[in-house]
């Protein structure tokens, strides 16, 4: 459905082609399922009859709330097939068991103990298929004093340490709270680690034929995702402080975020970082093209000690430059001169990025039931031998019930009607 990526052939299957995944995952793990589905795995999302609660999360297409119009659900469930199943009834449980022998991976995010209480824990399911890899991805893992705690993206980012690192310098926002960055990233972080663990288990199974059980904790995944904040404490006993738009640190550190002529922002590295005389010369030459180099072309800056002694001044020259140049021009001018600058872009700017177009990032996906096509984000990675692709839009509620229950399990259509009428599917 989506165009092939550069250097790849549309006919090639994705790298996970041939793996079947049963996804019993809500917001906590559906991204992990998407990662596998877009890379070619046959991911079957199992929802309760009537659809999962993730369908009630906005934004909605054209701002019309409807279970088939959640853009959040659409994004996180691309390339999957979807069936409905009442796992709390013996008939529903029996249908799930019948799917297990052909399943490679079962991913679930229910509260710890929920599936085992229904007779659907790893011990029960692996007896039907010893090659099964089952991953439970939960807020705090299957054990420990917090295992039954309620959670949310905001709670995970508080517990994991993200919030203690993000916020403002007092001069920008006095008395600011710690900030939890938006976007649902606790679930992304958990899903990345779960994906890794699952694929490592797949490799082991390829070698030995043995499946296994994985207990993955979103809290621990988040606790690993604050770069040097944790190690700074471990090795120095000190706690980092929050700064505006740059790394939390033990020192005050100089600002790296500058406002541009058009009122937007550009992010730079610390002014003195890697600033050799040669790099300063190149920077000054670039600034001079805008008539904004001030004294930086002076011979005296060809001495590393002079550079280090004048970092504040150099920072002020940069601040002045940014104040006189629009964001897009400013960060690109830096990049063309070897500086890793970045405009603080919103999606308003990103959707026009031609580099992304070169990578075939903007992925058109057809929604046949609406007669419309929409642009989705593409892959982060180009797999040159086995392309990433969105093979279909997210499933409608129970869209593949007939295909899977009748086509694969051999259930008669009359029986399917009974299952639907009795609330089993």
């Amino acid at each position: 459905m989506s165009a092939p990526q550069p250097g790849t052939s549309p006919a090639l299957p994705g790298p996970l082609h041939g793996l079947r995944v049963l996804e019993l995952a809500d917001e906590k793990g559906q991204f992990c399922g998407k990662l596998m589905a877009d890379l070619g795995a046959d991911v079957i999302k199992i929802e309760p009859p009537g659809g999962q609660h993730t369908r009630l999360v906005g934004p909605f297409l054209d701002d019309i709330p409807h279970r088939e119009r959640s853009l959040s659900f659409w994004h996180y469930n691309t390339s999957k097939r979807g069936i409905t199943l009442n796992l709390e009834h013996p008939d529903g449980q029996s249908l799930l068991r019948r799917l297990v022998p052909t399943t490679d991976i079962l991913l679930e995010t229910y509260p710890p103990g929920y599936l085992p209480a229904l007779g659907l824990g790893y011990d029960a399911l692996s007896s039907l298929n010893p090659r099964l890899i089952m991953c439970s991805l939960t807020p705090f893992g299957q054990t420990g004093p917090w295992r039954d705690f309620l959670s949310a993206d905001l709670l995970q980012l508080a517990a994991g340490g993200q919030m203690s690192c993000c916020g403002y310098d007092p001069q920008d926002v006095p008395d600011a709270p710690p900030i939890a960055p938006g976007g649902g990233n606790a679930w992304h972080i958990g899903s990345h680690f779960a994906y890794m663990a699952i694929l490592a288990a797949v490799y082991y199974r390829d070698m030995t034929g043995e499946g296994q059980y994985i207990d993955a904790s979103i809290h621990e995944a988040c606790a690993l995702t604050t770069e040097a904040a944790g190690t700074t404490y471990i090795y120095t006993g000190k706690v980092v402080q929050r700064h505006t738009g740059r790394a939390a640190s033990l020192d005050q550190s100089e600002p790296t975020q500058f406002q541009t002529q058009d009122g937007l922002w550009v992010n730079t590295t610390r002014t003195g970082f890697n600033l050799t005389p040669a790099r300063l010369q190149r920077l000054a030459t670039m600034l001079d093209q805008y008539g904004l180099a001030q004294d930086l072309l002076d011979e005296k800056y060809q001495n590393p000690a002079t550079i280090q002694a004048n970092l504040q001044h150099i920072g002020e020259v940069l601040e002045h430059f940014f104040a006189h140049v629009p964001q897009e021009d400013a960060w690109r001018a830096g990049q063309e001169n070897g500086l890793p600058w970045g405009g603080v872009r919103s999606l308003d700017e990103i959707i026009h990025d031609e580099h992304l177009r070169d990578r075939d990032f903007f992925t058109e996906v057809e929604h046949p039931e609406l007669g419309r096509r929409f642009i989705y984000p593409g892959g982060a990675t180009i797999y040159n031998g086995s392309p990433w692709r969105i093979s279909r839009r997210a499933p409608l509620i129970g869209e593949h019930n007939e295909e899977i229950f009748c086509g694969e399990l051999g259930i008669q259509k009359a029986e399917l009607i009974l299952l639907a009428e009795s609330g089993m599917i």
């Binding site: 917001e27 853009l71 994004h75 420990g144 917090w146 295992r147 309620l150 905001l154 508080a158 517990a159 340490g161 203690s164 690192c165 993000c166 916020g167 600011a176 709270p177 900030i179 939890a180 938006g182 976007g183 649902g184 990233n185 990345h192 994906y195 694929l199 288990a201 490799y203 082991y204 994985i214 207990d215 621990e220 995944a221 606790a223 770069e227 040097a228 904040a229 190690t231 700074t232 404490y233 090795y235 740059r246 790394a247 922002w265 550009v266 960060w331 070897g338 890793p340 970045g342 603080v344 308003d348 580099h355 992304l356 990578r359 989705y376 984000p377 892959g379 990675t381 180009i382 797999y383």
Partner: protein, 442 residues
């Protein structure tokens, strides 16, 4: 009985440096892959020159930074000048016996050295080659470079963090270096699976900046399908799902609810904060109960979600008056016991010293580093029942395993090794040798 590790027998030739790449190979190593980290002292890994994360009393130097020590566990390290014909030949011989090559240089560096995918694929047709450049190896701006913060800025990640009407707060660390590492591991493991299934290797071309955009998912579709401007009043709404006085449309974190915020707790210290979120009227009523049903909270304007969103300032003010009467962990226990979503804002110290969950799960393990001694290492977030991942080996001192690895893998004799040190292949002539390296030359 020790359990096997899942990637036993997989060899990774690791040209990565700084954070994203080494964070990736750390995890492949935890799964039991053999990691050979290649360094050159004249182009020192930035993490080796970081002076901030050095234990008190330890002299700064390439083996001293704790951040390097934590990021590079599970690897052996060699020093090799690949910019000499002899060094290049050794690198190519190592690549020929490796399953995976990982690198995170700018997009044409490895090709220039003769170590690009096309070069190495000739030596080993099924090689898996993971490149982790800022803009990737494909596309008109492939030569642009990123550090974590600039990748975050360009991908829209920085923009979605902060308070409305204020500068972006962004991410207080290189989130996309951590996450870039994740995509590096995922790329390697995914390509390994593909190789097992088809016999074929491939070039996996990751772009750190692009990766950040894929994590804006629902916001992306709101922009492309609904045409809603990302830059708008009241967005991003800080820790809330909607900012008071602006239309409550879409925070891309989950459903629009209130309360959903950070609140000060007893003590008033820098990290004396908690978060509370109520996803239903029932959860709000649970919170009212925990607070002791104060008069303000039973006011009818807070009974419904719409009312709570409309009167969010008063709501948050009332809640914070209560949260300030309790220490953050006591508050969490009280709330969770009553069915209220609450959690402490944990500092790094809290996670290491006070978090009962991480302690119960054995998250921090201790490891002896040859220079620094015993320190806690950030552990493993998943438990594989048959093949657990492990932190098994401290980070290499620079050049620590040059002789060991080249003798073991390429059969180099002692004289070959000594010659390589004498001619500048294994160590720059202008730098003194460390005693632990000299010991390997006798």
């Amino acid at each position: 009985m020790t359990l096997p590790r899942p990637l036993t027998g997989v060899r990774v030739l690791d040209f990565t440096w700084v954070r994203a790449g080494p964070w990736a190979t750390r995890w492949l190593g935890a799964f039991g892959a053999e990691i050979i980290k290649i360094e050159w002292p004249e182009n020192l890994d930035i993490l080796r020159s970081n002076r901030m994360v050095i234990p008190p009393g330890v002299e700064p130097g390439p083996n001293a930074p704790g951040q390097f020590a934590d990021t590079n566990v599970n690897k052996r390290g060699i020093t090799l000048n690949v910019r000499t014909p002899k060094g290049l030949e050794i690198a190519r011989r190592l690549a020929a016996i490796s399953d995976i090559v990982m690198e995170n240089f700018s997009s044409r560096v490895m090709q220039k050295w003769g170590l690009g995918y096309e070069d190495l694929q000739k030596l080993r047709p099924d090689i898996i080659y993971v490149s982790m450049a800022g803009f990737g190896h494909t596309g008109r701006n492939h030569h642009y470079t990123t550090m974590g913060p600039s990748a975050q800025a360009l991908s829209g990640q920085t923009f979605l963090s902060g308070l409305p009407g204020k500068p972006p707060a962004g991410w207080g660390w290189s989130y996309l270096d951590d996450t870039g590492g994740m995509y590096g591991v995922m790329g390697a493991l995914t390509a390994l699976r593909h190789r097992n299934a088809t016999g074929q290797g491939q070039h996996v071309d990751l772009s750190q900046m692009t990766m950040g955009i894929t994590l804006t998912g629902a916001a992306f579709l709101d922009r492309t399908a609904n045409g809603r401007r990302a830059r708008r009043e009241g967005y991003p709404p800080g820790n809330r799902t909607a900012w008071p006085g602006t239309p409550p449309v879409n925070n891309y974190r989950g459903p629009t609810v209130a309360p959903h915020n950070a609140y000060r707790t007893q003590g008033g210290g820098y990290n004396d904060w908690c978060v509370i979120a109520c996803f239903s009227d029932q959860e709000w009523q649970n919170l009212v109960g925990v607070m002791g049903s104060p008069a303000w909270a039973t006011d009818a304007r807070f009974h419904t979600l719409q009312g709570r969103i409309q009167h969010q300032e008063a709501l948050d003010e009332g809640i914070e008056q209560w949260t300030q009467t309790l220490a953050k962990y006591a508050l969490v226990e009280k709330c969770q016991a009553a069915g209220v979503r609450a959690m402490a804002v944990q500092s790094p110290e809290d996670r290491v010293e006070h978090d009962p969950q991480l302690r119960a799960r054995g998250f921090y393990t201790e490891l002896e580093h040859p220079l620094l001694g015993w320190y806690k290492i950030q552990g493993i977030p998943f438990k594989l029942s048959k093949t657990p991942a492990e932190i098994s080996r401290p980070a290499p001192l620079i050049g620590q395993h040059t002789r060991e690895v080249l003798t073991e893998l390429l059969g180099l004799g002692l004289q070959d090794i000594r010659d390589g040190y004498a001619d500048g292949t294994f160590w720059p002539a202008r730098l003194p040798l460390y005693p632990y390296i000299e010991e390997t030359l006798v």
